[in-house]
């Protein structure tokens, strides 16, 4: 299974030999060591921010969520039995918090996708940018139409790179259910994007043909 962008095995080994394990820090926090909790926050904050950002689509809301999640986690450390990795439990708390927040907002706001995603490809021609913006809007609609569970599964997989097993643990369902949800979500997204991609595909072919003509000239 494709791994999320992460440290290599050697880097992880080096890190693990240098860093205090999460479980040890958790034990210290339970004894009242606030500095140990700070270490946990600093270690996991970026991952939690990405999870929250993927679900809430707003950087300010995501930062707010990170703070709320860590405060909740501090108060619930007695609930953490150590049956799963601390990081996975943390993601689970984050996902539940974000789902609660989304439910309070009633609708899933995906504007973030449209507002930001093409900033990194501004070197493309205005025509390409327009097509990409249209694709972004189509994706936004498709994601908004997905059910909460399907959207959460695809976000955790595509944005956060979680493995099937991790998603299953986070969402509290069997691995097979995760695979089914991902398949369902992808099918919907593919249907939504296909018209734009077919058009873009034809244009790509035409561009390549033009390059071939120019090269021959």
């Amino acid at each position: 299974m494709n791994a999320a962008p992460s440290a290599s095995k050697e880097e992880k080994n080096a890190m693990s030999s240098m860093e205090t394990p999460d479980a040890e820090l958790v034990a210290r926090v339970r004894e009242g060591d606030r500095n140990a909790f700070r270490k946990l926050v600093e270690r996991h904050r970026e991952r939690i921010y990405r999870v929250a950002l993927g679900m809430l689509r707003n950087p300010d809301d995501a930062m707010d969520a990170v703070q709320e999640v860590f405060i909740r986690v501090h108060g619930r450390l007695t609930d953490f039995k150590g049956e799963s990795a601390f990081g996975t439990w943390l993601v689970r708390v984050t996902v539940n918090y974000c789902i609660d927040r989304q439910r309070r907002q009633k609708t899933w706001d995906a504007r973030f996708v449209v507002d930001n995603e093409w900033e990194g490809v501004s070197e493309e021609s205005p025509e390409h940018q327009l097509v990409n913006a249209q694709i972004g809007e189509a994706l936004q609609r498709a994601l908004a139409e997905l059910g909460e569970e399907h959207r959460t599964a695809i976000m955790l997989r595509e944005v956060n790179g979680l493995a099937y097993e991790e998603i299953a643990e986070v969402m509290g369902c069997p691995k097979g259910t995760v695979m089914s949800r991902l398949h369902h979500a992808r099918k919907k997204l593919q249907v939504a994007l296909r018209p734009f991609l077919e058009e873009a595909g034809e244009r790509d072919l035409a561009d390549r043909a033009g390059e071939g003509v120019r090269r021959r000239e």
Partner: protein, 200 residues
Amino acid sequence: MNDQDQEKLSLFLDGALAPEDAAEVARLVATDPEWKAAHRALKLSGEMMRAPVEQAARSANFDGLWAGIEGRLPAPERAPSLLERLRAFLTPPVLVGLAAAAAAAAYVATRPAPTPAPASPSPGLAATPRIAPAPESALAAAPADASEPVVIEGIESEGSKTVLVSQPVEPGGTTVIWLLDAPDAAGDGAAAPTTDDDPI
């Protein structure tokens, strides 16, 4: 592409297919336009979901995060000071108990000296009013190691004759003084303690 093909493509993207199946899907994606378009759509949708998150995450500023979290954590537990421990100890029931103990101690300290009954009182003696203890000089006459009651003197009070008995418990220590009615004064010959059952 049927639904099964779609699912296979989804697993292919996640790297969850067996090597043989993955090779077959890779061949289809390279050669079949429908597979190619579906593959492209899924890859692009993934990239479009990731791109804004990656971009925002790169510019995220976590500087004030810990301060915000720490400010809302419950205050750390510390060992209570002596004053706090004392306050916690002195709850109303404890105060009532202490007051009762103090009152009892004050009573014991200030009450008149008891006049206990003798170890083997004479059967004919009865209780009499309390009187002043025997003078030191009279006590000095008693043997230091006396084990038997020593009659110091007989006195009359309110028409009844009383015998004052002194019994040193140990040399130079406490002296127990008994006031007993003389047998001829009680009349009925019954022995009775003075005012206290327990000599001090």
